[in-house]
């Protein structure tokens, strides 16, 4: 373990690894160590000491922080200014049993976003610029410290979701937004998931500006002390100034959307519920495989009907159906079925998040890439890390 305090030290360590033909992994708070493939590395770069706020201009919606800054420290700074990271980063410390809420660098490296992602965008939409050292051991920067910028390639997008396989980032500039004054949730009950997704489509076709939409089966809803007496519950979050939230809530409830029952959750209970949805709280004690699926929202209902008929799974959907969290048995059978289902849904991915039975060794955690995409990924990797020094194989064998 090599504790890195700045990018200069990172460059030295990477250059040394290049010379010694060694492979390194990177770690922040270690909260996401369970994600990705199991690979043995020659050394570890510990980035947790690269922390702290460099510059924060709330009225410019600009925050520059160091990559190892913990999410709890960051959120405290934002809360003090009445702002937030709009993509609602999840806290997987319980799901992944790490005990650490993670660092901003880790959140970006995994491109993790919560329920607001549906309407506000993902982590990748809020990274404006960064400084980094590539796997070549060379310093470079990209993007800027302003919210509107198209100068040069948008490498920020590439860094988000690359799991540290391209470069070590520091001095991350993010776009922030004001926190909404209030947020409430509306609950609508349905007999089946197809009716639930259709209702969400109708709600999003209304001018009442929902910010988040999830579908819970009754078994999980009851764990959140919600019981509408239906098999599925649609949860709609409304945010904004109180007068607007109340007006939209009463309009939506009056419309009814063919629900068998409906209810309203006030701010505190609403916040708790969305935090559970975001952090996948209901699966923390599941002893099999936990999957994250991203598909077209309308594909959720047929996909879950198909998988549910063949496997013993519990699942719920966020992002209006576009994000499915699924707890099921370990092993390659479910993996094969899920990946075939994603292909049948014409796009998306199924990622194995964790398998507490150790099944992750039998299943590639990331959706396998078609040959042409794999080749391009390899070339992109080589453009940043030609000798495979950084987190080699963490996402895919050979990248």
């Amino acid at each position: 373990m090599n504790k890195i305090h700045n990018l200069g030290e990172a460059a030295e360590a990477i250059t040394a690894a290049l010379a010694a033909k060694q492979r390194l992994s990177t770690i922040g708070t270690g909260s996401k160590a369970a994600l990705g493939r199991r690979v043995d590395y020659d050394g570890v770069l510990d980035l947790s000491a690269m922390c702290g706020v460099v510059d924060y201009q709330p009225e410019e919606l600009i925050l520059t922080v160091r990559a190892g800054t913990s999410m709890s420290a960051l959120e405290a700074v934002l809360a003090e200014a009445g702002q937030m990271l709009p993509f609602d980063p999840p806290d997987f410390s319980r799901l992944l049993a790490s005990g650490a809420a993670g660092s901003i660098g880790g959140v970006l490296a995994a491109n993790l976003s919560g329920p607001r992602r549906l309407t506000a965008g993902a982590a990748r939409d809020y990274l404006l610029g960064f400084e980094a050292v590539s796997g070549r051991g060379e310093f470079f920067k990209s993007g800027g410290k302003v919210v509107k910028n198209v100068t040069g390639y948008d490498l920020s997008k590439l860094m988000c979701g690359s799991f540290g396989t391209l470069a070590v980032m520091d001095e991350i500039t993010l776009k922030t937004l004001p926190r909404p004054e209030t947020a409430v949730s509306l609950l609508f009950g349905y007999a089946d998931i197809a009716a639930a997704t259709a209702a969400i489509a109708a709600i999003f076709a209304s001018p009442h500006e929902p910010h988040a939409a999830a579908i819970l089966p009754a078994v999980l809803a009851r764990q959140a002390e919600i019981d509408l007496g239906t098999s599925y519950v649609v949860i709609i979050r409304l945010e904004g100034i109180a007068v607007s939230v109340d007006d939209r809530a009463s309009n939506l409830l009056a419309s009814g959307f063919n629900a068998a029952a409906h209810a309203r959750l006030e701010a505190d209970r609403s916040a708790d519920l969305w935090q559970s949805i975001r952090d996948v709280d209901w699966f923390t004690s599941h002893q099999g495989a936990i999957w994250k699926l991203s598909v077209a929202p309308a594909a959720a209902a047929p996909l879950l009907a198909d998988i549910g008929a063949r496997f013993d799974v519990t699942a719920y959907a966020d992002w209006a159906g576009g994000l499915i969290w699924l707890a099921g048995p370990s092993g390659p059978e479910l993996a094969t079925a899920l990946r075939a289902a994603v292909d049948a849904a014409r796009g998306g991915y199924a990622q194995l998040i964790i398998d507490k039975n150790g099944g992750a060794d039998q299943v590639p955690p990331f959706q396998p890439l078609p040959a042409a995409h794999f080749a391009l990924h390899q070339r992109v990797k080589a453009a940043f890390d030609p000798y495979d020094v950084l987190n080699f194989g963490r996402m895919h064998d050979g990248i």
Binding site: F140, N149, Y153, L155, G347, A383, Y387
Partner: protein, 495 residues
């Protein structure tokens, strides 16, 4: 502006290349005559003109792929072109390159309300997307001012913005999927109707890559429900500093308007002369602030913003009470460019971004530069996000004025970077700002960007001469010498 030296051996083969392309493409899809090619000799940056070697106008993705394969196998350069509205010369032809026009890709393929997206061919105009879905209450949010003409494929290539991107983001934030054709003629899809890549975000990196990485052949766009109400405020200030501070106060109060535009005195008066929108002629700065959303929310926020404006020292304030009045507020801003065109034979439109708090400093700097170069400058800003559009007034018929105007523009962009900003907020680098890239980026920064280019196009065949001031061979960029024993600080313990 120096472009890569044309390859005479390719130019000499023009007739053969045209004949070969005619075997790949339908009749009339290969433009060989000088008269025909003339229509493609420039984009929206019309100060630069160049006849292309030949213009290819494929109609299908297989045809496009075949053209790319042909060019790649013969090492012929390719310049992609959407509607040709780039303001930075992104679609400027090269004398030895095939110009591939996407104008025939003009069909919307799928309107999918269940997934709230539109799948379209790249040659469809930006505004046509909104037109296709507005009867059902939806719209496509990014609205570059050229939206009546610019194509969505070009929007992807340039990562186009617009007046509403403070709240709704740029093109990159409203894209779900793209299909591209690589220089080798391979067809690849990134994203789709789902959210997030799950792997390297190659869609994200393609967006705004200015036609250097691939040709966009299909686009999946996110559509949004049209806001129930839009209202605007028209606010005058006696000085720019107060106006800039007022913009910060609105955001500081937790309000993100759909748009916040600023105009300076010269722009206000030029616009007022042209469209008579009722702008305060004596104001030094004018803000147009638009709020959208549910009616009760907009009404409440209009009151809050008006209070903030008065507290910030507004000298005049009007609130729109009808769509007609709101449109009138915008009429002057939307006509600002032609309005300036009426008071000057020519103008250059710049596009830097600065941290908004530096706006008063920038106004002082621009006034000094205006004196230095003896040229007037009118300013319109996307004030919410600090994106400047200074319009430098000049007369191309006066010897030396174009060059002076360009130097003035370059100085403004230098000042943007010096104040912590960037060279371009939404128009792209293209050829226009290519040689200024070294102000914002180090040689190593630019080399790293070009290594990414090599992953897509290692022969530099796609749109060369744009974005990067210096072309490096990919083999040279890839070289990395690691000398054991020559490490800096060799005695630091490692692992």
């Amino acid at each position: 502006m120096e472009m890569p030296a044309p390859d005479q051996s390719v130019i000499d083969c023009q007739a053969q290349i045209c004949a070969d392309l005619r075997r790949i493409l339908p009749d009339n899809a290969v433009v060989e005559s000088e008269e025909g090619r003339r229509a493609y000799d420039a984009d929206g940056l019309s100060a630069y003109r160049q006849l292309p070697l030949v213009v290819a106008l494929p109609e299908t993705v297989p045809q496009l792929a075949a053209v790319m394969r042909y060019c790649h196998s013969h090492a012929i350069k390719v310049v992609p072109r959407g509607a040709g509205t780039s303001l930075s010369g992104g679609a400027l032809p090269l004398a030895d390159a095939v110009l591939v026009g996407l104008g025939k890709f003009n069909r919307i393929l799928d309107i999918d309300y269940a997934n709230r997206c539109v799948v379209t061919q790249p040659g469809v105009t930006n505004l046509a997307i909104t037109h296709a879905v507005q009867a059902d209450g939806f719209y496509y949010a990014p609205d570059p001012s050229s939206q009546i003409a610019c194509s969505v494929g070009g929007n992807v290539a340039e990562n186009s913005g617009g007046v509403h991107c403070l709240k709704y983001g740029l093109t990159t934030n409203n894209l779900l999927g793209i299909e591209i054709v690589t220089i080798e003629g391979e067809v690849l899809r990134f994203g789709g109707k789902h959210l997030d890549a799950g792997d390297f975000d190659l869609m994200g990196v393609m967006t705004g890559s200015e036609g250097l990485l691939g040709v966009v052949s299909e686009v999946t766009l996110r559509i949004l429900q049209k806001p129930a109400m839009q209202r605007a405020l028209l606010v005058g200030f006696e000085d720019t500093e107060s106006a800039a501070k007022a913009v910060g106060d609105v955001i500081g109060a937790g309000i993100i308007p759909a748009g916040m535009e600023m105009m300076d005195g010269l722009a206000i008066n030029a616009a007022e002369d042209f469209v008579k929108a009722g702008y305060p002629r004596d104001a030094a700065a004018l803000l147009i602030i638009e709020l959208d959303g549910p009616a009760v929310e907009v009404d409440a926020l209009i009151d809050r913003v008006a209070t903030i404006m008065n507290a910030a020292g507004a000298s005049s304030l009007k609130v729109s009470n009808s769509e007609a009045e709101r449109n009138l507020f915008w009429a002057g801003r939307k006509a600002a460019f032609p309005a300036v065109g009426r008071i000057s034979p020519d103008y250059l439109c710049m596009d830097g971004t600065i941290p908004r708090r530096r706006l008063p400093d920038m106004m002082v700097r621009m006034a000094a530069l205006s004196q230095k170069y003896g040229l007037r400058v009118a300013n319109v800003f996307h004030a919410g996000d600090g994106n400047l559009h200074p319009l430098i007034l000049f007369d191309a018929n006066q010897p030396g004025e174009l060059q002076r105007a360009e130097e003035f523009g370059a100085d403004i962009l230098r000042a943007c970077v010096e104040m912590g900003g960037v060279l371009t907020g939404e128009h792209g680098v293209g050829v226009e700002k290519r040689d200024l890239m070294g102000i914002q980026f180090t040689a190593d920064d630019l080399k790293q960007q070009q290594r990414l280019k090599c992953a897509f196009d290692d022969g530099h065949l796609l749109n060369p001469g744009k974005v990067f001031p210096q072309l490096h061979r990919c083999a040279e960029l890839g070289r990395l010498h690691v000398h054991q024993g020559k490490m800096p600080f060799p005695d630091i313990p490692r692992f």
